[in-house]
Amino acid sequence: MTSTSSIDVTAADVTAAGGRLIDAALFHVAGDAVALAGSTCTACGAVTFPVQPSCPRCAGDDVESVALPRNGTLWGFTVQAFPPKTPYLRADERPFVPYAVGYVDLDHRVLVETRIVTEDPAALSVGDEMTLVLEELQRDGSGPVLTYAFTPVAAIAPREAS
């Protein structure tokens, strides 16, 4: 999988932006490294996102919190073309900006549903290499509200090079 360390999300990024994560429980922060937090069943190995207290596969209740891989491949997708109602944080956004959503296959351990950051949703295709980023969803009184998202590796590579 392509390395995209230069855009890896770090705890320092979040702090520097003065922002807050939309739900801290979704994230696994170790030192300066931020990843999505999942759970792995110690009995059968099934992985879930977000963390849950028992295994949906074997019903075992011994699960460990793990940092999920930051890179994966696009499994399926669509574009949300009409504004969702509240509680969507951008429900009042005018004009409404359509956004892509889909599932990213993380090393064939789990598929995670995610917003997709891309300027060209029409160019997305199954199998695209994707990497984890933080996306600013909203700016409230205390700064930006950040959520996780994935973005195509191909879309960011040229910008990094320049």
């Binding site: 939309i22 739900d23 429980a25 979704l26 999942g38 099934a46 992985v47 879930t48 996102f49 977000p50 949906p56 596969r57 499994w75 399926g76 997708f77 669509t78 574009v79 949300q80 073309a81 009409f82 969702p84 109602k85 509680p87 969507y88 944080l89 951008r90 956004y99 959503v101 889909g102 599932y103 296959d105 064939h108 351990r109 789990v110 598929l111 995670v112 549903e113 917003r115 949703p121 199954v126 969803l137 959520t147």
Partner: protein, 381 residues
């Protein structure tokens, strides 16, 4: 163990009915069904009913009569009607009751459903980040399905065009204006590859069915329709369902495949024997995928069947002869019962302009709802 017959059906037209409450529509359908069976509400020993947005179904007893019966409210998303019928089926099949009713009504506000994350055990973040939309799920599922089976998306508008064509022949349907495949294709994009006219809308309407022990059917009607099986299933590990923040890496058969397989097996009927089918068409892609998931055809075989006209009313496998969810809209409590109502009418041979030719004998229904539940029935004359 008693077999079950449907001996009375009633329906309040689907659509928008300003000034008419959902409950009033439910009472209308109930009275029609009772009249159809030639009985009164005092003859009904139990009822299972559902309404998602128009108050508790059992509020109907205030309209129909306070007779003291067991009346259970059912809440099972878009599969509510199928679940109400499944429970009514069990109540008779077990020998507990002889005569009962399955009923559903609803009255949703205009616009897409706006589900609450907490209802589905999800955190607020899921809705706040703009992922709590059933439309996205259906679009992602069909996008991947078209990819996996190398199907041209053009078939999606053909499916919707059939729905509106059939709806035009159905006096109870909401959308009675035929639309061309071109009009459907070029309508507003909702979630790629699905456009506005490929989606059904939340709506209003009501359906009631009177059921009884099969050996008593002749008391109520000359044209009983037998409920050979009614099976409801929920999701298993590895399936792709609506409102799933994560999925297992490998796919397995979903609730639709399990409910359909078990319903056919319980009925002793093969999918190839089906003469008419009503299957969940929340959007065009759902009909496409559910055709194969229910076993009515093979995966990838659908475009040939659809484009050659085999799923039309006069085809070899007529599907959604009343216009389906696309032409009728979806009042959640009633939608699954609408499908059974249509099949009863078809098997009785009283479907008028939309009657399937050749005296259909075997009919099948399928509903699907959040968060991954399905109910199927097999009906015969």
């Amino acid at each position: 163990v008693s077999d079950v017959a449907i001996v009375g059906v009633g329906m309040h037209p689907f659509g928008r009915h300003e000034g008419v409450s959902g409950r009033a529509q439910g009472a209308y359908a109930a009275r029609q069904a009772l009249q159809d069976a030639g009985i009164g509400w005092t003859d009904v020993q139990f009822a299972f009913g559902g309404s998602a947005a128009a108050g508790n179904a059992d509020a109907l007893v205030a309209d129909l009569g306070l007779t003291g019966i067991e009346f259970v409210n059912v809440i099972n998303g878009c599969a509510t009607g199928g679940s109400s019928l499944a429970m009514a089926d069990r109540a008779i099949r077990s020998g507990a009751y002889d005569v009962g009713m399955a009923i559903g009504f609803d009255k949703h506000p205009p616009g897409p459903f706006n589900a609450d994350p907490a209802t589905y055990g999800l955190g607020d973040w899921y809705g706040e980040t703009g992922m709590m939309l059933t439309t996205q799920f259906f679009a992602i599922k069909v996008q991947r399905y078209l990819h996996d089976h190398d199907i041209d998306p053009g078939v999606l508008s053909a499916i919707a065009a059939k729905a509106y064509r059939n709806g035009a022949l159905n006096p109870n349907a909401w959308r009675r204006q035929p639309l061309s495949a071109e009009e459907i294709e070029s309508s507003t994009m909702v979630s790629r590859p699905l456009t506005k006219y490929m989606f059904c809308s939340p709506a209003e309407g009501a359906v009631a069915l009177v059921l009884c022990r099969a050996d008593l059917a002749a008391r109520f009607t000359d044209t009983p329709v037998y409920l050979r099986s009614c099976v409801m299933r929920s999701r298993r590990y590895g399936t792709f369902e609506v409102f799933s923040p994560s999925l297992a890496p490998e796919r397995t058969d979903g609730p639709t495949a399990h409910a359909a397989r078990d319903a056919f097996e319980a009925a002793g009927v093969a999918p190839s024997e089906v003469d008419v089918a009503q299957i969940q068409d929340t959007e065009s892609g759902a009909e496409l995928m559910h055709m194969a998931e229910t076993g009515l055809c093979e995966h990838g075989e659908q475009p040939d069947l659809i484009l050659s006209g085999e799923t039309e009313i006069a085809g070899t496998l007529p599907i959604n002869t009343d216009g389906g969810c696309l032409a009728n809209g979806e009042p959640i409590g009633a939608s699954g019962l609408r499908q059974v109502h249509e099949n009863v009418v078809q098997l009785r041979g009283t479907a008028g302009e939309r009657q399937v030719p050749g005296n259909p004998r075997v009919a099948f229904t399928h509903v699907y709802g959040a968060p991954g539940i399905s109910a199927c029935t097999v009906l015969t004359r």
